[in-house]
Protein backbone atom coordinates (compact mmCIF):
# COMPACT_ATOMS: atom_id res chain seq x y z
CA UNK A 1 0.00 0.00 0.00
CA UNK A 2 2.64 2.44 1.05
CA UNK A 3 5.29 1.69 -1.56
CA UNK A 4 3.40 2.80 -4.67
CA UNK A 5 2.23 5.87 -2.80
CA UNK A 6 5.83 6.74 -2.04
CA UNK A 7 6.68 6.35 -5.71
CA UNK A 8 3.95 8.69 -6.86
CA UNK A 9 4.88 11.23 -4.25
CA UNK A 10 8.51 11.20 -5.32
CA UNK A 11 7.48 11.39 -8.97
CA UNK A 12 5.33 14.44 -8.33
CA UNK A 13 8.09 16.01 -6.29
CA UNK A 14 10.60 15.47 -9.10
CA UNK A 15 8.16 16.92 -11.62
CA UNK A 16 7.70 20.03 -9.52
CA UNK A 17 11.43 20.38 -8.99
CA UNK A 18 12.24 20.01 -12.67
CA UNK A 19 9.44 22.43 -13.57
CA UNK A 20 10.90 25.03 -11.30
CA UNK A 21 14.26 24.30 -12.86
CA UNK A 22 12.86 25.10 -16.30
CA UNK A 23 11.23 28.21 -15.04
CA UNK A 24 14.53 29.56 -13.76
CA UNK A 25 16.43 29.16 -17.00
CA UNK A 26 15.72 32.66 -18.25
CA UNK A 27 16.51 34.36 -14.97
CA UNK A 28 20.01 35.50 -13.89
CA UNK A 29 21.99 32.59 -12.57
CA UNK A 30 21.73 32.27 -8.82
CA UNK A 31 25.15 31.78 -7.28
CA UNK A 32 26.43 31.92 -3.73
CA UNK A 33 25.89 35.65 -3.74
CA UNK A 34 25.91 36.21 -0.02
CA UNK A 35 29.61 36.99 0.17
CA UNK A 36 29.51 39.37 -2.81
CA UNK A 37 26.72 41.64 -1.64
CA UNK A 38 26.89 45.26 -0.52
CA UNK A 39 30.49 46.10 -1.26
CA UNK A 40 31.69 42.64 -0.14
CA UNK A 41 31.52 43.62 3.50
CA UNK A 42 30.70 40.00 4.35
CA UNK A 43 34.22 39.05 3.32
CA UNK A 44 35.64 41.39 5.94
CA UNK A 45 33.27 39.98 8.55
CA UNK A 46 34.37 36.46 7.64
CA UNK A 47 38.05 37.36 7.84
CA UNK A 48 37.63 39.04 11.20
CA UNK A 49 35.62 36.09 12.49
CA UNK A 50 38.37 33.71 11.43
CA UNK A 51 41.03 35.82 13.15
CA UNK A 52 38.97 36.08 16.30
CA UNK A 53 38.25 32.34 16.23
CA UNK A 54 41.98 31.74 15.95
CA UNK A 55 42.76 33.97 18.90
CA UNK A 56 40.02 32.36 20.99
CA UNK A 57 41.25 28.89 20.08
CA UNK A 58 44.74 29.94 21.12
CA UNK A 59 43.46 31.35 24.42
CA UNK A 60 41.55 28.14 25.16
CA UNK A 61 44.69 26.12 24.41
CA UNK A 62 46.77 28.23 26.80
CA UNK A 63 43.99 27.95 29.38
CA UNK A 64 44.04 24.14 29.15
CA UNK A 65 47.83 23.95 29.32
CA UNK A 66 47.89 26.07 32.43
CA UNK A 67 45.17 23.83 33.88
CA UNK A 68 47.31 20.76 33.22
CA UNK A 69 50.35 22.40 34.82
CA UNK A 70 48.29 23.28 37.87
CA UNK A 71 47.15 19.67 38.17
CA UNK A 72 50.70 18.35 37.84
CA UNK A 73 51.95 20.72 40.51
CA UNK A 74 49.13 19.66 42.81
CA UNK A 75 49.94 15.97 42.39
CA UNK A 76 53.65 16.51 43.05
Amino acid sequence: MIKPLKKTVSLVAMLILSASGFAQQNQPVEMADGLYQSGKIYVVVTVLSVIFAGIIGYLIMIDRRIGKLEKELKNK
Binding site: V45, S49, F52, L59, I62, D63, I66, L69, L73
Partner: protein, 221 residues
Protein backbone atom coordinates in the same frame (compact mmCIF):
# COMPACT_ATOMS: atom_id res chain seq x y z
CA UNK B 1 32.95 23.81 32.09
CA UNK B 2 30.80 24.85 35.07
CA UNK B 3 33.37 27.41 36.14
CA UNK B 4 34.01 28.61 32.60
CA UNK B 5 30.54 29.76 31.53
CA UNK B 6 31.59 33.40 31.57
CA UNK B 7 34.36 32.71 29.08
CA UNK B 8 31.72 31.34 26.75
CA UNK B 9 29.71 34.54 27.20
CA UNK B 10 32.81 36.56 26.33
CA UNK B 11 33.36 34.56 23.14
CA UNK B 12 29.71 34.67 22.05
CA UNK B 13 29.34 38.40 22.77
CA UNK B 14 32.49 39.46 20.95
CA UNK B 15 31.68 37.19 18.00
CA UNK B 16 28.23 38.71 17.89
CA UNK B 17 29.65 42.23 17.84
CA UNK B 18 32.09 41.40 15.06
CA UNK B 19 29.20 40.22 12.90
CA UNK B 20 26.49 42.66 13.99
CA UNK B 21 28.96 45.53 14.24
CA UNK B 22 29.59 45.35 10.52
CA UNK B 23 26.18 44.38 9.24
CA UNK B 24 23.60 46.11 11.42
CA UNK B 25 22.27 49.52 10.55
CA UNK B 26 24.11 52.57 11.90
CA UNK B 27 22.95 56.20 11.72
CA UNK B 28 24.54 58.20 8.90
CA UNK B 29 26.65 60.96 10.42
CA UNK B 30 28.79 63.54 8.65
CA UNK B 31 32.57 63.08 8.98
CA UNK B 32 32.13 59.77 10.79
CA UNK B 33 30.40 57.83 8.00
CA UNK B 34 30.97 54.10 8.49
CA UNK B 35 33.74 54.70 11.03
CA UNK B 36 30.96 55.08 13.58
CA UNK B 37 31.23 51.29 13.78
CA UNK B 38 34.58 51.77 15.51
CA UNK B 39 32.49 52.58 18.55
CA UNK B 40 31.89 48.85 18.93
CA UNK B 41 35.60 48.08 19.05
CA UNK B 42 37.53 51.13 20.22
CA UNK B 43 35.37 52.17 23.19
CA UNK B 44 35.10 48.67 24.78
CA UNK B 45 38.90 48.69 25.06
CA UNK B 46 38.67 51.60 27.51
CA UNK B 47 35.79 50.04 29.39
CA UNK B 48 37.85 46.87 29.70
CA UNK B 49 40.89 48.86 30.81
CA UNK B 50 39.03 50.79 33.49
CA UNK B 51 37.39 47.61 34.80
CA UNK B 52 40.58 45.59 34.93
CA UNK B 53 42.49 48.48 36.50
CA UNK B 54 39.75 48.73 39.09
CA UNK B 55 40.36 45.05 39.86
CA UNK B 56 44.02 46.00 40.25
CA UNK B 57 43.14 48.86 42.61
CA UNK B 58 40.84 46.60 44.63
CA UNK B 59 43.59 44.07 45.14
CA UNK B 60 46.12 46.73 46.05
CA UNK B 61 43.80 47.93 48.80
CA UNK B 62 43.29 44.31 49.84
CA UNK B 63 47.06 43.91 50.05
CA UNK B 64 47.45 46.97 52.24
CA UNK B 65 44.83 45.71 54.67
CA UNK B 66 45.82 42.00 54.80
CA UNK B 67 49.43 41.92 53.53
CA UNK B 68 48.68 38.76 51.58
CA UNK B 69 51.12 38.39 48.69
CA UNK B 70 48.37 36.76 46.58
CA UNK B 71 46.66 40.16 46.39
CA UNK B 72 49.88 41.66 45.09
CA UNK B 73 50.03 39.06 42.32
CA UNK B 74 46.44 39.82 41.36
CA UNK B 75 47.04 43.57 41.41
CA UNK B 76 50.17 43.49 39.25
CA UNK B 77 48.77 41.05 36.71
CA UNK B 78 45.56 43.06 36.43
CA UNK B 79 47.57 46.23 35.80
CA UNK B 80 49.51 44.37 33.14
CA UNK B 81 46.36 43.23 31.34
CA UNK B 82 45.00 46.75 31.67
CA UNK B 83 48.01 48.04 29.77
CA UNK B 84 47.31 45.58 26.95
CA UNK B 85 43.77 46.84 26.37
CA UNK B 86 44.87 50.40 27.08
CA UNK B 87 47.47 50.33 24.33
CA UNK B 88 44.95 48.77 21.96
CA UNK B 89 42.58 51.61 22.82
CA UNK B 90 45.25 54.22 22.14
CA UNK B 91 46.27 52.70 18.81
CA UNK B 92 42.72 52.20 17.55
CA UNK B 93 41.80 55.71 18.66
CA UNK B 94 44.78 57.12 16.83
CA UNK B 95 43.81 55.36 13.61
CA UNK B 96 40.24 56.54 13.97
CA UNK B 97 41.43 60.12 14.58
CA UNK B 98 43.59 60.05 11.45
CA UNK B 99 40.58 59.43 9.21
CA UNK B 100 38.03 61.63 10.94
CA UNK B 101 39.97 64.53 12.45
CA UNK B 102 42.84 64.33 9.96
CA UNK B 103 45.74 63.67 12.30
CA UNK B 104 47.15 60.67 14.15
CA UNK B 105 47.31 62.69 17.33
CA UNK B 106 45.70 65.91 18.45
CA UNK B 107 46.69 67.85 21.56
CA UNK B 108 43.29 67.15 23.04
CA UNK B 109 42.42 66.84 26.72
CA UNK B 110 41.01 63.38 26.35
CA UNK B 111 43.82 62.05 24.16
CA UNK B 112 46.63 63.48 26.24
CA UNK B 113 44.83 62.36 29.37
CA UNK B 114 44.69 58.80 28.08
CA UNK B 115 48.38 58.91 27.17
CA UNK B 116 49.35 60.29 30.59
CA UNK B 117 47.27 57.59 32.28
CA UNK B 118 49.16 54.92 30.38
CA UNK B 119 52.48 56.54 31.35
CA UNK B 120 51.45 56.65 35.01
CA UNK B 121 50.75 52.93 34.89
CA UNK B 122 54.01 52.21 33.09
CA UNK B 123 55.73 53.93 36.01
CA UNK B 124 53.97 51.38 38.25
CA UNK B 125 55.94 48.61 36.56
CA UNK B 126 59.16 50.59 36.69
CA UNK B 127 58.58 51.04 40.41
CA UNK B 128 57.94 47.33 40.89
CA UNK B 129 61.03 46.44 38.94
CA UNK B 130 63.22 48.65 41.06
CA UNK B 131 62.48 47.02 44.43
CA UNK B 132 63.87 43.58 45.17
CA UNK B 133 62.41 42.88 48.56
CA UNK B 134 59.01 41.29 48.02
CA UNK B 135 56.89 42.69 50.85
CA UNK B 136 58.35 46.13 50.43
CA UNK B 137 57.72 46.06 46.68
CA UNK B 138 54.15 44.92 47.18
CA UNK B 139 53.41 47.62 49.74
CA UNK B 140 54.94 50.54 47.85
CA UNK B 141 53.41 49.36 44.57
CA UNK B 142 50.00 49.09 46.22
CA UNK B 143 50.18 52.63 47.51
CA UNK B 144 51.31 53.89 44.11
CA UNK B 145 48.51 51.92 42.42
CA UNK B 146 45.88 53.77 44.44
CA UNK B 147 47.43 57.06 43.35
CA UNK B 148 47.47 55.81 39.75
CA UNK B 149 43.77 55.01 39.72
CA UNK B 150 42.89 58.39 41.18
CA UNK B 151 44.96 59.98 38.42
CA UNK B 152 43.14 57.80 35.88
CA UNK B 153 39.80 59.18 37.06
CA UNK B 154 41.15 62.72 36.91
CA UNK B 155 42.67 62.38 33.44
CA UNK B 156 40.00 60.26 31.78
CA UNK B 157 36.81 61.37 33.49
CA UNK B 158 37.17 64.79 35.08
CA UNK B 159 39.56 66.94 33.03
CA UNK B 160 38.04 66.03 29.62
CA UNK B 161 34.63 67.09 30.91
CA UNK B 162 35.95 70.43 32.10
CA UNK B 163 37.52 71.34 28.78
CA UNK B 164 36.38 71.40 25.21
CA UNK B 165 37.41 68.30 23.42
CA UNK B 166 37.12 66.87 19.95
CA UNK B 167 36.48 63.52 21.49
CA UNK B 168 32.77 62.73 21.91
CA UNK B 169 31.35 62.36 25.39
CA UNK B 170 33.30 65.37 26.72
CA UNK B 171 33.06 69.11 27.13
CA UNK B 172 30.35 68.90 29.76
CA UNK B 173 28.58 66.02 28.06
CA UNK B 174 28.94 62.95 30.21
CA UNK B 175 27.29 60.35 27.98
CA UNK B 176 27.31 59.08 24.45
CA UNK B 177 24.51 61.33 23.32
CA UNK B 178 26.68 63.04 20.76
CA UNK B 179 27.00 59.76 18.96
CA UNK B 180 23.25 59.59 18.59
CA UNK B 181 23.50 56.07 19.86
CA UNK B 182 20.23 54.70 18.57
CA UNK B 183 18.62 51.53 19.84
CA UNK B 184 20.25 49.31 17.18
CA UNK B 185 23.67 50.61 18.15
CA UNK B 186 22.99 49.98 21.82
CA UNK B 187 22.09 46.39 20.96
CA UNK B 188 25.61 45.92 19.67
CA UNK B 189 27.51 48.31 21.91
CA UNK B 190 26.50 46.93 25.31
CA UNK B 191 27.29 43.29 24.47
CA UNK B 192 30.58 44.53 23.01
CA UNK B 193 31.49 46.22 26.28
CA UNK B 194 30.55 43.18 28.38
CA UNK B 195 32.26 40.79 25.96
CA UNK B 196 35.56 42.66 25.90
CA UNK B 197 35.58 43.18 29.66
CA UNK B 198 35.10 39.44 30.18
CA UNK B 199 37.78 38.68 27.60
CA UNK B 200 40.22 40.96 29.42
CA UNK B 201 39.34 39.27 32.71
CA UNK B 202 39.99 35.90 31.08
CA UNK B 203 43.46 36.98 29.95
CA UNK B 204 44.04 38.40 33.43
CA UNK B 205 43.16 35.08 35.11
CA UNK B 206 45.51 33.25 32.74
CA UNK B 207 48.32 35.60 33.72
CA UNK B 208 47.56 35.13 37.41
CA UNK B 209 47.55 31.33 37.12
CA UNK B 210 50.80 31.37 35.19
CA UNK B 211 52.43 33.65 37.77
CA UNK B 212 51.30 31.36 40.59
CA UNK B 213 52.74 28.31 38.80
CA UNK B 214 55.98 30.19 38.29
CA UNK B 215 56.20 31.08 41.97
CA UNK B 216 55.49 27.49 42.93
CA UNK B 217 58.32 26.24 40.76
CA UNK B 218 60.83 28.97 41.57
CA UNK B 219 60.16 29.60 45.27
CA UNK B 220 58.32 26.39 46.17
CA UNK B 221 55.61 28.22 48.07
Amino acid sequence: MKKNWWKLIAIVFVFYTIIAGFLFHVPAQPILHETIRNLYFHVPMWFAMMTILFVSLWNSIAYLSKSNIQSDILASQAANTGMLVGFLGLITGSIWARYTWGAWWVADTKLNGAAITILIYLAYFVLRGSIDEEQKRARIAAVYNIFAYVMLIVFLMILPRMNDSLHPGNGGNPGFNKYDLDSTMRMVFYPAVIGWILLAVWIFTLRVRLEKIKRKIVFND
